[in-house]
């Protein structure tokens, strides 16, 4: 960030580049400064390469089951068997046909995974049951749930009376079978492709139908042991004379969302917490820097005008500054955020608008002392314009103070934004660290003792704020000899 500001300045005055490099070198000489700068650079890199570092965006929901623990927990004996994401696509090639298909049924397997059953017109009523099975190994401890979908399409032509029925079962190693999906009799053309027929272990209707209480996790009950489970599809086709019935079954998708996922697990909606942490860096840096730049700019203008002009202008501006200083910032910020917040840039502006007063006062005092100096008096005597004096003589003198304040204002803004987000006054569409902590608090992460959710954002905020404080202090020490006048 330091570099950026300097580059901007250098466009006007190339000699500044050297000065900036000098300052940077001075900072590096201090242990504190070097440490702060290193942390900051790491954070900036994280912010820039967030997409690369984190494989998912924080908006992607349902990556694993909700409240999944970090994957590295599996190194501990208690969590050794925790289920990871397990998904199977069962297409035409994977299904095992369990019974012989009567000759009047045409079976066509397509490369896309679809199977098409076609019953041609017959003289008699025929009923056919097709059973398809697929075995898979479940090697983990019981999961909480499962989900999946089956696309299918039923086409019926001719006399009424024909129907098809599609049933999906899960068969446990013990041979107990659970009816998960029941299409009911389909006696008309029906397309279930967009969306496909879906089933989910969380459905109340399913739980009650299978005889479980509606607060029980049926994934846990059905996949209660390790072993070979069967997915079974039963297609019942009844055709009446003089009609054609076609049943097309798409590839079945079956998934058991994991209870161990990613570097930091998942939140209450199954989003990746690590992604949230990484993307939060962007938000915090943006808030900190933008708010600091705005507040320093306001403070600078007010300070210079008040200090340089003096008289009634000074009195009015100082009075206004003092008034704002008298207002309790955090309560006021909260009260105002309630109706203008909910948008990141508004929050940033608000923070900036309520934090420029200290700098304005410092700036004014400094400018006042400069005004009396000889070189200013001399310039005035020569007839230089006010703007000229301000830009040529006063601003350069202020530069160190500006830098230091710029840097030291950042942590305050970062902490304030985090606090506001934590109180749910922030922008809900922005994955900030404060919001992460808010979500943790209100989805029961404390109750569940999910420290891996709570501690990282706090550490990130602390480190980022600390890096700015350290750099600011170093700058202070570097510039201090020149800045004695401000005390």
């Amino acid at each position: 960030m330091m570099q950026k500001t300097k580059v901007k300045n250098s466009a006007k005055k190339p000699s500044r580049v050297k000065a900036a490099v000098e300052v940077l070198k001075l900072i590096m000489k201090h242990k504190k400064g070097l440490f702060g700068l290193t942390i900051l650079i790491v954070f900036v890199l994280i912010a820039i390469f967030a997409d690369v570092i984190s494989p998912h965006s924080p908006d992607e929901l349902g990556l694993a089951d909700r409240f999944a623990v970090p994957i590295w927990f599996k190194n501990f004996p208690q969590y050794k068997d925790l289920p990871e994401n397990l998904a199977v696509h069962v297409g035409a090639a994977e299904w095992n046909f369990k019974n012989t298909i009567p000759s009047q049924i045409q079976v066509k397997k397509e490369s896309s995974g679809w199977i098409i059953f076609k019953v041609k017109p017959e003289e008699a009523v025929s009923k056919t049951v097709v059973q398809l099975e697929y075995d898979f190994e479940y090697p983990y401890s019981p999961p909480r749930r499962f989900e999946g979908n089956i696309p299918y399409k039923v086409t019926i032509n001719g006399e009424p009376g024909s129907y098809a029925k599609i049933l999906f079962y899960i068969v446990t190693p013990e041979g107990k079978s659970y009816l998960i999906y029941d299409s009911r009799s389909i006696a008309y053309n029906k397309t279930m492709i967009d969306p496909p027929a879906r089933f989910d272990a969380r459905d109340i209707a399913l739980k009650l139908r299978l005889g479980f209480a509606d607060y029980e996790d049926i994934g846990e009950k059905i996949f209660s042991e390790k072993g070979t489970y069967k997915l079974k599809l039963e297609i019942i086709i009844v055709s009446v004379p003089r009609s054609t019935i076609t049943v097309a079954i798409g590839p079945l998708y079956f998934r058991i969302p994991g209870l161990a996922y990613g570097l930091l697990g998942t939140d209450n909606l199954g989003a990746d917490l690590f992604a949230n942490l990484i993307y939060g860096t962007r938000v915090s840096l943006l808030v900190g820097i933008l708010a600091s730049v705005i507040s320093v700019s306001i403070g600078l203008v007010v300070g210079i005008v008040a200090g340089y002009k003096g008289g009634i202008v000074d009195q009015i501006l100082t009075f206004f500054t003092d008034t704002l200083l008298f207002m309790p910032v955090i309560p006021l910020l909260i009260a105002v955020s309630v109706y203008v917040g909910k948008n990141l840039y508004l929050t940033i502006s608000l923070i900036a608008l309520l934090s420029w007063m200290g700098f304005a006062r410092n700036c004014r005092a400094f400018v006042m002392s400069l005004r009396e100096r000889l070189f200013v008096e001399a310039a005035k005597a020569v007839g230089a314009s006010d703007t000229y004096i301000i830009f040529r003589h006063i601003l350069p003198q202020l530069t160190p103070l500006i830098y230091i304040t710029l840097v030291l204002n950042v942590p305050g803004a970062i902490l304030l934004e985090a606090a506001l987000s934590f109180l749910n006054l922030g922008d809900p569409s922005v994955p900030s660290w404060g919001r992460m902590l808010y979500n943790a608090r209100y989805s029961g992460a404390f109750f569940k003792l999910m420290w891996w959710w709570i501690i990282p954002p706090g550490i990130m905020i602390t480190l980022l704020a600390m890096s700015f404080i350290l750099i600011g202090q170093t700058l202070d020490e570097v510039f201090n000899p020149k800045l004695k006048a401000r005390r």
Binding site: D194, R202, D214, N268, P428, N439, Y442, G444, F447
Partner: protein, 709 residues
Amino acid sequence: MRKIYVLLLLGVILLSLVPLTAFTAPPPAEQQNWKWEARGPRVDEYLMPIYLDYDAQLIAFKKGEIDTSFIQPARIDEVKDDPNIYILSYQTFNLQFLGINCQQYPWNYTAIRQAVAHLIDRDWIIRNIYNGFGYPVDAPIPPAFGDWSNPNVPTYPYSKELAKKVLLDAGFTYDEAKNKWYDPHGNELGDIVIQVPPAEQASWLYEEAQHIAEEGQSIGLPIKVEAIEFQALVSQIYSKTFKSFILYLGWGRQPTLAYELFRTGGSWNFWGISDPELDELLEKFYFTANLTEAKEALWKAQVKVAELLPYIPIYMGRANVGFRSDIAGVVLLKPLGGQSYLTTLNAHHIGMPFGGTFRDPLGSDPRTLNPFTAITGDEWAVMDNILETLFIAHPDQVSDDLPWLAKDWKIEETELNGQKVTKITFYLRDNVTWQDGEKFTARDVNFTWWFIKINKPTQQYAKVFEKMIKTEVPDDYTIVVYVNGTSWTYLYDLNVAMVPEHIWGDKSLLEANGGWEKWDPSKVKHPTKPGLTCLIGTGPFIFADRKPGEYILLKWNPNYWRRHPSKSLSVKVSAQESLFEGQKLEVEISVKDYTGSPSTNATVTVNLEQNGKVAKSAVAIHQGNGVYKASIDTSGLTGDYTISVVAKATISGVELTRTVTATVTIKPAWEQYLPYIVLLIVIVVIAVAVFYYMKKKKAEEAEETGEES
């Protein structure tokens, strides 16, 4: 230094390795087999601790500091494995819906509303955001209303293809290359905004709206989500400047709200729809005394509403309430709707049919306990235990009514001054008293109704009060009300919480405390009865104590008109059945309270009564372990007497009295000598007999000897 950090971190990691257990407790048998009784209350105290923080409430519940707690869907994992907790689940009447301002571009296109309806993936929302606890609803009147709901209305199943088709059919055009939509006038479609408040405790609503928006964006529809503070949203809804919002609607057990929701100019018609055909149907639905007609009209209206789509129903919630496993007597409304009022009367601890404390948490601090200004559910949760209504929902069939303060009612259509009016007559129970001892009469009902008509308290002021013409009180327990027009809903709107006239009608009392709107009767002392506040009703519990931000305590009403007969002292008397005058009558009395433990502080008076007059009286003396003894001198008394034992004991601040009688016969004192007298007589008789016999024998002997000699 570094080592310490490593150790700390390690400690944290080890702590998280708590073994995972799974145990689901079913409701206890006593709860499962519980048959509700309309009498009570069984517990002595109803404590309502306030937990503003849900985590704190859940911890207290798990620790057993409270007996019940609402369980949020996302938090069910944390309680379901606890063997000391069981969960009851029920469907609520709360409908979540997307409400639309049909006046605002582009929502004013019916096709846009229909397309968005096609884009709502209810299954996904319920599963992922509400963890499965809900039922998808796509009918304007949810199927939960039974035969009020029309099953054959146009529905909008989730399908992007259908969404596109609806738009294309309505003249919208789609530019596939740019992924943009154009309205029938050829302009690029503006933002379709969904507004959501940050939900009370989590950003669920936001996530939900975001999902709908993403579905829309995937087919090029510019759906945007706007997060807005709840208050601000409410402001916009009322001023009809909103765009569309996702919120909840609490339907009552009768779908009367439909009339206001969809009628032109209806007070809940925020959507701004106006359809003459629909209006006519709704008038028919509302202004009829015939329920079949009302249902028929509503069925037709629903079809119309489903076509216009001013609001898109999303789902109806399922609530989970946890109870400690020693709680029984919870009465759930059937088939849906939640806990019945009768839970208040029936709930108790297992093994303790009477007595004890039921601890039911509140999630917010009640602002006021004034029934005419209370708004929040927590405020009513307190007052529902104190104030009562004329009838309540029948627990076995929620759409039926169970007579309560009124034992019966009659609805007639008549004419008054040439106008068609509805005449409703309520026949009240004659054994009801207010908690301060005054009788509850028809005048109180009359007062409450007129109070509402005149003062128009926002929550109770329904159409019926606007149209109320006059009331008549032919006797203390009958009230007749005449209401302009005809509607089956009048009956329900008249069923408000009854307040006592002798408190609320006392103008100077109200004025001295800031007027009816500002005063909180629970904070004002009762004018005559010490220990009571002005918050009195006819209900099973009396307001006892309150500490702001901490708790509200209610105590049972011993004079409750539906008091459980078994909830009293149990007194056993043993005494002689008969004795003789002058002897001591020994009476042994064993006194137990309703929890079954011996009462040691009772005052037991034994009266010997004859023909209602007390002949002798004595105070029994405690012998230990709840056994009392009294002895009464019976000299001077004869005849049949009643031993009337009056036991008085104070249990948790309530004085209980129980009178038990026995009979005793006191015989005259001489009767006790009767056996001796009889014996004496017998002896004398025998002796005389023997004497005569001997005499006779001697004489015979003498005769014989005389003959011989």
